[in-house]
Amino acid sequence: MKKLLLATTLTAVALLSSAANAADYNIDVKGAHAFINFKIKHLGYSWLTGRFNDFDGKFSYDAKKANDSKVNVTIQTASIDSNHAERDKHLKGDDFLDVAKYPTATFNSTGYKATDANSGVLTGTFNLHGVTKTISFPVTKVGEGNDPWGGYRAGFSGTTSLKLADYGITYDLGPQSTHVELELYLEGIRQ
């Protein structure tokens, strides 16, 4: 009986501690310490940059069990902002994002492979413009630690390149502008 009680207690402690170890972070969109930027070549002569202003998500990360990391992000496509209303209107229309039909883009990770202490390759399903594809791209941990206000934060960055036609966006922007670079800078607050 004592043995059983001990075993139960140990199991409970183990469960509790593992729950505490699985560090869940909410992306700090409220404080705007997270950015989803994009850039695309303009005619092949320069870069045009913009961002999505409205998105949300969370991630799990534990430096000791980096390969268990998870991340989920949902982007409100209508929040695209390239600092030009006429262009944004065009980008939100059916030539590009068609936000009335596809109001969100989502990324849900399916795996993470650490390559060293602070970087790895993230794999997951990305849904954009109604098309879901599996993508992999390198991510880097920028840092983690206590913040000055009693919380604990961790931040990551990652960059990937998407071929617009793969997602059914076929408007001709020229031969130099078939791909868009996505840059993610996500800071999370540990829960």
């Binding site: 209508a78 209303a85 006429e86 944004d88 209107k89």
Partner: protein, 180 residues
């Protein structure tokens, strides 16, 4: 005769009426055409600029026209049943209202990010000091719907004028045309 009188329209009203009528039809066609142009069409940028230039001049013309209407006597109603006269009044008020909102909505699309509209690279029409979320989309929807509505209303307006001219024979069309 420059001013309107109880018996007919003066030159100023007639000139503004037709100038606006032709400009509006032109802008409607240009608007439908320009949104179909693609990135590598030579007139992709120029067509939109011209649409905005003429649109802002139209807004100015409309303001002058409304002011001129208040500053003048309005010509007497054409003879006809009460409901027809009322319908005419409603239509004329509607045309002014739809034109005004249509032109303002166009202005609100292009100025949603605070940019001014440089009319013929000559006069800057500044943006309003405030804007709303997704202003360019909301104003864009309104602009498109009202453009079609205005053309439909104009068609009824024109048919009514022709009907007055040919059936009632009361010079309903001619009184807005060249005086002998």
């Amino acid at each position: 005769m420059l001013k309107d009188t109880t018996t007919g329209f003066g030159w100023i009203s007639i000139v503004i009426h037709w100038l606006m009528a032709f400009s509006i039809f032109g802008l409607f066609g240009l608007g439908l055409y320009m949104v179909e142009l693609t990135y590598y069409d030579a007139w992709y940028k120029g067509s939109l600029d011209l649409h905005k230039d003429i649109g802002m001049l139209l807004l100015l013309a409309l303001i002058i026209r409304i002011g001129w209407r208040f500053a003048n006597t309005t010509p007497a109603e054409l003879p006809g049943p009460k409901w027809e006269q009322l319908a005419g009044k409603v239509m004329h008020f509607g045309l002014y209202a739809v034109m005004l909102i249509l032109m303002l909505s166009g202005f609100l699309i292009s100025t949603a990010d605070g940019r001014a509209i440089a009319v013929f690279e000559w006069v800057n029409v500044p943006a309003l000091p405030w804007s709303i979320d997704n202003q360019e989309d909301i104003a864009g929807e309104i602009h498109e719907v009202l453009a079609w509505l205005l053309i439909a209303m104009t068609a009824i307006h024109a048919l009514a004028a022709v009907k007055h001219q040919l059936i009632n024979k009361d010079n309903g069309l001619k009184r807005m045309w060249i005086k002998k």
